[in-house]
């Protein structure tokens, strides 16, 4: 059963990923991406990482996709079609990608992974405790770093998106 679900998910991921990078309508591409992200959260469910799956759905499928859709709305005419890449660049990229896939798969399949079977699943509380633990193996420091980073990005995004002339206008108004 799980096996079948996995294959279905895998098929969805690959098909929609390909669609996402080839679609000529930007909004379609975003939607395809959404499917991919949802399918990935399915994989997280499959391996019993429910918290992570929820996170994936909430932040990615919820937040990021909406953000991207907004930016598409801001910058694109809804009917406009994307330029296609030249054939040479497609061929180069394709060869490169296939080569990369081949190389990586070769590396993966030649490496003997020793699977460990006693997996029990993860409790959300464990994740939370560990995240804020400052003892050995705790993740409080990266957590803080990430939060500062997020703050910085928040401010940065506002400043950049606001644009120079808007800031200047504001400046004038203050005066």
């Amino acid at each position: 059963m799980e096996q079948i679900i996995f294959y279905i998910l895998a098929a969805i991921i690959i098909v929609f990923a390909i669609a996402a990078v080839n679609s000529r309508k930007i909004l379609h591409a975003v939607i395809y991406l959404l499917f991919v992200l949802v399918a990935i959260s399915g994989i997280y469910f499959l391996v019993n990482y429910n918290f992570l799956a929820a996170l994936q759905l909430a932040i990615y499928a919820g937040g990021v996709i909406v953000l991207i859709i907004f930016s598409v709305m801001l910058t694109h005419n809804i009917d406009s079609k994307l330029d296609t890449a030249s054939l040479t660049s497609k061929i180069i990229a394709g060869v490169l990608s296939i080569g990369g896939i081949a190389t990586t798969l070769f590396a993966i399949y030649t490496y003997p992974f020793t699977s460990n079977d006693n997996f029990k699943g993860v409790e959300v509380s464990d994740v939370g405790f560990k995240m804020l633990s400052f003892e050995r193996g705790g993740f409080v420091l990266p957590f803080e770093v990430i939060s500062i980073l997020l703050l910085a990005i928040l401010i940065g995004a506002i400043v950049i998106a606001k644009g120079q002339h808007l800031i200047e206008e504001e400046h004038k108004q203050n005066q």
């Binding site: 180069i92 490169l96 990369g100 190389t103 990586t104 030649t110």
Partner: protein
């Protein structure tokens, strides 16, 4: 006997040179001239005194004339054994040369007081004369071959300066340059010869080199190169230097042009002293030349001398510029001296040629200087060098006429003149050794008489030309030297040179060989007679003779086109082809090559710059390529 005072002989002219040279703008010509004459008189007295002391009091120990070192100091050290000394070497030939140089130089100094009067560079002229005299003294008294080379170069440059005395005349400049470069080229040989010789001999010193019992002559050190021993090569190369200085064929081309200098200079440098330096060099190194390889090089010397004597005499018959005739005559006479040296042996009477050569050097210096000074006197009067502008001058210039005649007789070997004796010795020496050379010598003697009297008759006889103002006899300062030299063109003949100078330094008795002497005199008289017929009166005989000789005359008149040949080689080949192509090569290949390297850097950086296109997708492509390559590398590394 302490000869250390002889160091003054070169030093006085040096001092005069420095004094007059540095102050030449401050001194009046009169003072400069008198300083020069005074300095030279002192050295002349010193030379005569030395000669007297040496030849008659202390020189001879037993039967052999000794070598004295008047003074000697190390000048520079090269290796542990090789070092250049500066010193004074006194032996018969150096003292004889001292006398010749100082006397002729004194005469020229006095003569120039009149001849150069009113010239702008009078002081400079006297400074250069002193420089030349200093250098010539240094050359003559050199204790070693390198000292000789040093002064050899210095006389070269003095000659350059004096030929180029009229430096605003392009022909004089060209002549000066030519003289210097040609002799310099010959000196290249000389220098290489010295280097070879000194390397194998381990010394520059004449006494060690020339010692007939020394290791160099006995053992003949060094290997062989192209069939001849290295020492022979060294001697050939050194003779090349001598040939250059003495204007031997084929390095003679500078001498006729050198007549662009003031006439007294030609008398001093290009007739009496400097040009015989080559002869002196061979004489100085005579034991080496004689003993190494059985005198192989001496044969060369003899043939070169003989050929030059003949060659120059033929040309002399065709030239119209009296100074050039005299120049070719000088070449011819030096050829004689070389010939004499070349046929000379070493012991006793065998060394007749050596003695004859030195004897002729002495007498030739006197009468040739006289000829030049006489010619100068004539030129001074008529302001031209060309024979066609002269004629009938005997009425106007009696003293010049008489003295010139004496000199001409002397050079033609007329009996009882000094030239007769010395030339006879040379012919006798040649007759004993090599009949071919003897006949060449004899023929040249006839030619000499012919061309000398050709110019004599043309100048002093024949009819007057239309002179702008009547020629007049030169002032006393010029005629007194003429008279003194005229006396000395006759008197030395009666000195028994063989008492004083010989190859092995012992006296021997040289007899006058009457059959040979009479032959020579008759030949000379024929020459004079022919000249008399041709030129005593204006006639068309010379022209007919010219026509008869046809091509040969034209060739000889153009000096057998040797100058043109040289000009072709130097100008066309070396200057225009070699040097120009080198300059081109430097500009286009090397310089542009270096610039090309720079440009290639710029170009390639232009190319590389394109990689940084600003397209981040390109970067990503390369990044992925690199990542894959790295993965592959690590996969396959093991």
């Amino acid at each position: 006997m302490n000869f250390s005072y002889t160091i003054l002989i070169p030093l006085i002219p040096l001092f005069v040179f420095l004094f007059v040279g540095i102050l030449h703008t401050k001194l009046t010509p009169k003072i400069a001239g008198s300083i020069g004459v005074l300095g030279l008189s002192t050295t002349t007295l010193l030379s005569l005194y030395t000669a007297y002391k040496y030849f008659f009091e202390v020189g001879k120990v037993g039967e052999v004339y000794q070598t004295f070192i008047g003074a000697k100091t190390t000048w520079i050290n090269f290796t542990d054994t090789l070092h250049i000394d500066m010193g004074v070497l006194l032996d018969p030939i150096s003292i004889m040369m001292l006398v010749v140089v100082s006397f002729i130089s004194l005469m020229v100094h006095i003569y120039s007081l009149g001849y150069m009067k009113g010239e702008a560079g009078f002081n400079r002229y006297y400074a250069f004369l002193s420089l030349f005299t200093f250098s010539m003294y240094g050359l003559v008294i050199a204790t070693n071959i390198f000292q000789m080379y040093i002064f050899w170069e210095l006389v070269g440059v003095s000659s350059f300066l004096l030929i180029g005395y009229y430096y605003d005349k392009p022909s004089a400049v060209a002549a000066a340059k030519k003289a210097f470069i040609v002799t310099r080229f010959a000196d290249l040989g000389f220098l290489i010869g010295i280097l070879i010789l000194s390397y194998y001999a381990g010394t520059f010193d004449f006494q060690t080199l020339n010692d007939p019992q020394g290791a160099i002559i006995l053992n003949g050190i060094g290997g062989s190169f192209m069939g001849l021993s290295v020492l022979t090569w060294a001697l050939i190369l050194m003779f090349m230097g001598g040939a250059g200085k003495s204007a031997m064929f084929p390095l003679h081309i500078w001498l006729p042009d050198a007549m662009e200098g003031p006439t007294p200079v030609s008398a001093l440098i290009h007739a009496a002293t400097m040009v015989v330096a080559g002869v002196y060099l061979v004489a100085r190194m005579f034991p080496l030349y004689y003993f190494i390889d059985g005198g192989f090089v001496l044969q060369i010397v003899a043939y070169v001398g003989a050929f030059t004597a003949l060659f120059a005499a033929i040309i002399a018959c065709t030239q119209n510029d009296i100074k050039r005739v005299l120049a070719f005559s000088t070449m011819s006479q030096i050829g004689y001296m070389m010939l004499a040296l070349g046929v000379s042996g070493y012991d006793g009477h065998e060394g007749l040629g050596y003695m004859a050569s030195m004897f002729h050097l002495f007498t030739h210096a006197m009468f040739k200087a006289l000829l030049f000074l006489g010619a100068g006197s004539v030129i001074h009067a008529v302001h031209s060098n060309l024979m066609k502008d002269m004629g009938g001058l005997r009425k106007y210039m009696p003293i010049t006429n008489i003295t010139f005649l004496i000199a001409a007789l002397s050079i033609s070997g007329f009996p009882f003149t000094s030239g007769f004796f010395s030339k006879d010795e040379i012919l006798a020496a040649a007759f004993e050794q090599n009949k071919l050379l003897y006949f060449v010598g004899l023929f040249v003697a006839g030619l000499t008489a012919f061309y000398m009297f050709r110019i004599y008759f043309s100048i002093f006889w024949g009819k007057d030309r239309d002179y702008k103002h009547a020629p007049h006899e030169s002032p006393l300062t010029m005629t007194i030297p003429l008279i003194l030299l005229a006396i000395l063109s006759i008197a030395p003949g009666y000195i028994h040179f063989s008492d004083f100078i010989s190859a092995d330094r012992t006296s021997f008795v040289a007899h006058l060989d009457f059959p040979l002497a009479i032959t020579a005199v008759v030949t000379g008289l024929i020459g004079i007679l022919v000249a008399f017929v041709f030129y005593k009166k204006e006639s068309n005989i010379p022209e007919r003779a010219t026509k008869a000789f046809g091509a040969i005359y034209t060739w000889a008149y153009h000096k057998f086109y040797i100058d043109e040949l040289y000009l072709f080689v130097t100008k066309k080949i070396i200057f225009n082809v070699v040097s120009a192509s080198f300059a081109w090569f430097d500009k286009k290949v090397i310089d542009d090559g270096m610039i090309g390297i720079g440009n290639a850097t710029i170009n390639s950086s232009d190319k590389i710059k394109k990689l940084q296109s600003g397209k981040f997708q390109d970067y990503a492509t390369w990044f992925v390529v690199g990542a894959i390559a790295l993965v592959l590398y690590f996969l396959y590394k093991n």
